[in-house]
């Protein structure tokens, strides 16, 4: 099955690594230099912050491309969805890249390829639920040895020698651990096709490497039964399993009784597919858990369903639960906790608090004392609408933070609809009238031809802050959060034909043949749905008006939130006004402030003085040809201070580092006609 390929391209790398060993930079994992980027989110606290200031408001516009690397050849086909954030440690840049999720090591000053490692996983890779290049990798060193760890699409944890890309023979079996084994469950139906994988980066702390799990898209599962997404810790030296946390409790464990009618036995998913955060000093790990099977219908899993959509704190050494807080009881909205929890040492009412702040799709920033799990500001249970989908089980209340206020839309009302002109507003109302509207936690409806077709939701599957997560400045105690403020999601439920799924209801629209939704690369050949048989009156309803977003601007925002006070101190629209808005004939001549863009894939980088984020859409303006801008804002005010051209939208969050006295910013771009590419920006040399 395995055909491991290794190419050592740069014999001089050994020299590079040897030099690195004698420099002061070879420090333990817990003391990384702030001029490097040793972990996916810069550090284990999930801050995406480096206190660098060579690139500033004064010179951001002068940035130029230092190097670039296309990822087309790191796999047997190009990739158009490059989501990685590289690492930079000890003078080497590491990244995942290409449709094979290869690992590449580059010279951080020139982009020269030093080595590459790829795993040929055959059918197992081809059947994986989460394919393509993934989001990154982990670095570990004890001051002597350096290792790179990542998870393949086929769900194997690989440990490489950072010096040359060779698998570390003493780790697992020949350098890898089969994550489909030793998981306190039998992955079904078999190890090759069994649905489980992950695209995020592993995390290493105190010699423990931690890995979660992800599954295929969960709106239209084929069954209420699925593999479970447990979290495990492994010894980074040997690959030996140290602990496991059951995200769905086993019989006798705390929380099992929140799964009525024995549903904990067969329900699956409930993984941790996004980044894990760690406080090494406290020895605590923060696990952001996703939804159980299935995303929008929970009639087969009555009860609150712990630890679905819960933030769980476990012990770093044992994996034992310390505390948890369920953000959504009995999940029905695909409000997976989608990004890294952020550790923040703050001052609230004059008292120091070691806090953890959790951004969310639903636009709430949940803030807890990270030692006790107690909310820093009250999060009271509030009554919410109870729906009437047959067989569904509803929680009558949900926890809603009293502070900070929601930083992005999480409910839809007529007042939120596009209103550039009365005519556009009327057309949007016609679309919205086909749906059930309401505030956050308005439940999905059964889809009916005579209405409603479903619930028109926002801040659910693709809203608010998604996998790229937020940033946090530990000096000023301010968090910076990108959010999609216009990503509406119509959620309708239709009875699932028995040949499609054994679940009573799955996502769909009345009048349309039920089809299974898939993520990219899934086996579309085997179970392809039949061609649709539409019934009269069942036309597809677009979620736009002549291509214009259904919602009012701002479409995408960056918010700065003071975590000492729980207040939003500024909020801006991020991204150029889309072409379709700027060029719309009826809007010509209107003074429309910058709208931002309708996308949820944007991650922020913060430096000493700047918030840096690229755009998620291509635009063509008088100031630049078709492309997207990497923008910089003043951290204090949100005022834009510079922008530099990118040939395609940002699809992976930017990172920064210092190398040979120069600051670099690296960002992944791709999409539409443009295949994946990492681009490194730096300032011109002084002599230029």
């Amino acid at each position: 099955m395995r055909d491991r390929k290794l190419f050592r391209l740069h014999p001089g790398l050994v020299c590079v690594a040897a030099l690195a060993l004698v420099t002061p930079s070879a420090l333990p994992q817990s003391q990384p230099k702030t001029t490097e980027w040793p972990s996916y989110a810069a550090d284990l606290a999930g801050t995406r912050y480096r206190p660098l200031d060579q690139i500033s408001a004064l010179n951001f516009n002068d940035l130029e491309i230092a190097w670039r690397i296309k990822t087309d050849n790191f796999g047997d086909r190009p990739e158009y969805k490059l989501e990685g954030t590289p690492l930079m440690v000890n003078g080497v840049l590491y990244a995942t890249a290409g449709s094979r999720r290869a690992v590449i090591a580059l010279d951080p000053g020139t982009g020269e390829l030093l080595w590459i490692h790829g795993e040929h996983e055959g059918k197992r890779g081809g059947a994986a639920p989460r394919q393509l290049s993934g989001r990154g990798l982990a670095y570990w060193s004890d001051g002597k040895e350096e290792r790179i760890l990542y998870v393949t699409p086929g769900y194997r944890l690989i440990c490489l020698n950072a010096k040359n890309g060779q698998p570390v023979s003493g780790f697992g079996t020949g350098g890898f651990v089969d994550l489909k084994l030793n998981d306190d469950q039998d992955i079904f139906p078999d190890l090759t096709t069994g649905e489980i994988g992950i695209q995020s980066a592993p995390v290493v702390a105190s010699n423990t490497v931690m890995v979660g799990a992800a599954f295929r898209e969960g709106m239209t599962p084929r069954s209420m039964r699925n593999n479970k997404g447990y979290v495990r810790g492994f010894d980074v030296r040997t690959g030996k399993r140290l602990w496991i946390f059951h995200t769905i409790p086993k019989k006798g464990e705390f929380g099992y009784d929140t799964w009525e009618k024995g549903s904990a036995e067969y329900t699956g998913n409930t993984g941790v597919w996004t980044q894990i955060t760690v406080d090494e000093q406290l020895g605590l790990v923060y696990l952001p858990v996703e939804s159980p099977t299935s995303d929008f219908y929970g009639g087969h899993r009555p009860g609150n369903n712990l630890f679905g959509e819960s933030l769980v704190c476990v012990d770093l050494k044992t994996g034992k639960r310390k505390w948890h807080f369920q953000l959504v009881h009995h999940p029905l909205w695909d409000m997976d906790i989608s990004s890294a929890p952020i550790l923040a040492d703050i001052m609230v009412d004059g008292k120091p608090v070691k806090a953890v702040a959790q951004p969310s799709k639903q636009g709430f920033l949940y803030v807890f004392d990270r030692i006790t799990g107690k909310p820093v500001w009250p999060i009271p249970e509030k009554p919410v609408e109870v729906g009437n989908v047959p067989g569904e089980w509803y929680s009558a209340t949900q926890p809603i933070p009293s502070k900070p206020p929601a930083y992005s839309r999480n409910g839809v009302s007529v007042d939120d609809l596009i209103d550039f002109t009365p005519a556009l507003h009327d057309r949007a109302k016609e679309i919205a009238a086909k749906y059930h509207l309401g505030p956050v936690f308005t439940p999905p409806t059964a889809s009916k031809l005579d209405g409603p077709l479903g619930t028109l939701s926002i801040g659910t599957a693709s809203g608010g802050t998604n996998w790229p997560g937020g940033s946090y400045d530990p000096e000023t105690h301010i968090a910076y959060l990108y959010a999609c403020n216009s990503c509406v999601e119509p959620i309708g439920l239709v009875p699932a034909p028995k040949e499609v799924s054994d679940i009573a209801y799955i996502a769909g629209t009345a009048g349309h043949e039920v089809s299974i939704l898939r993520g990219p690369g899934e086996n579309a050949g085997a179970d392809s749905p039949k061609p649709p048989k539409k019934r009269a009156g069942s036309e597809y309803v677009p979620m736009n008006v002549d291509g214009l977003p259904l919602m009012k601007p701002p479409y995408g925002t960056i918010s700065a939130i003071n975590l000492d006070t729980g207040e939003i101190i500024w909020q801006i629209a991020h991204g150029e006004t889309p072409d379709v808005v700027r060029n719309y004939p009826a809007l010509k001549g209107m003074n429309i402030p910058r709208t931002g863009q309708e996308t949820y894939n944007i991650g922020t980088l913060i430096t000493k003085t700047l918030v840096i984020a690229g755009e998620g859409h291509v635009t063509t303006t008088a100031d630049h040809p078709r492309g997207a801008m990497l923008r910089a804002y003043d951290k204090k005010t949100g005022k834009e201070v510079g922008a530099v051209f990118m040939p395609a939208p940002q699809t992976g969050s930017p990172m920064t580092y210092m190398h040979n006295g120069k600051q670099y910013i690296v960002v992944a771009v791709s999409g539409g006609p443009y295949s994946g590419e990492y681009i490194a920006y730096t300032l011109p040399s002084e002599s230029e």
Partner: protein, 152 residues
Amino acid sequence: MTAFRIGSVATLGCVLFALCVVSAQEPTPSSSRSVWDGVYTEEQSKRGEAVYQKECASCHGASLGGGESAPPLTGGAFLSNWNGLTLGDLFDRIRKTMPQNGPGRLTRQQDADVLAFMLSTNKFPAGKTEIYRQSEMLKEIRFESEKPADKK
């Protein structure tokens, strides 16, 4: 709108880029056609819809609105992604990379039919002749998201 200044280096890059684009498009006498000139037929779009629902909808959504892991094929982001390029560029993207688990599995005819369905869904007008099945020919048809003044 917030104004911004692109640095001198970037400006030079933009100029060079623009020159390259112009250069790459020459000669352009036959490039007078665009997606607003009726480059597919309604019947072809219907065939394309059936292919789309079978081969594409599971990722891109039944109404082309996108999915968890695949972008929308309608709306502002899609239109601006391809604005200024050609139908040949879009056809090649489909032909060479889709469906993602088996690029090239569909025939040229099926790809062309899907492209016709995408144009129809995005409200580009149908015409009397079917869309070409060769990317070189499709590169003579400009993808313009904005309707030209003489078509209004």
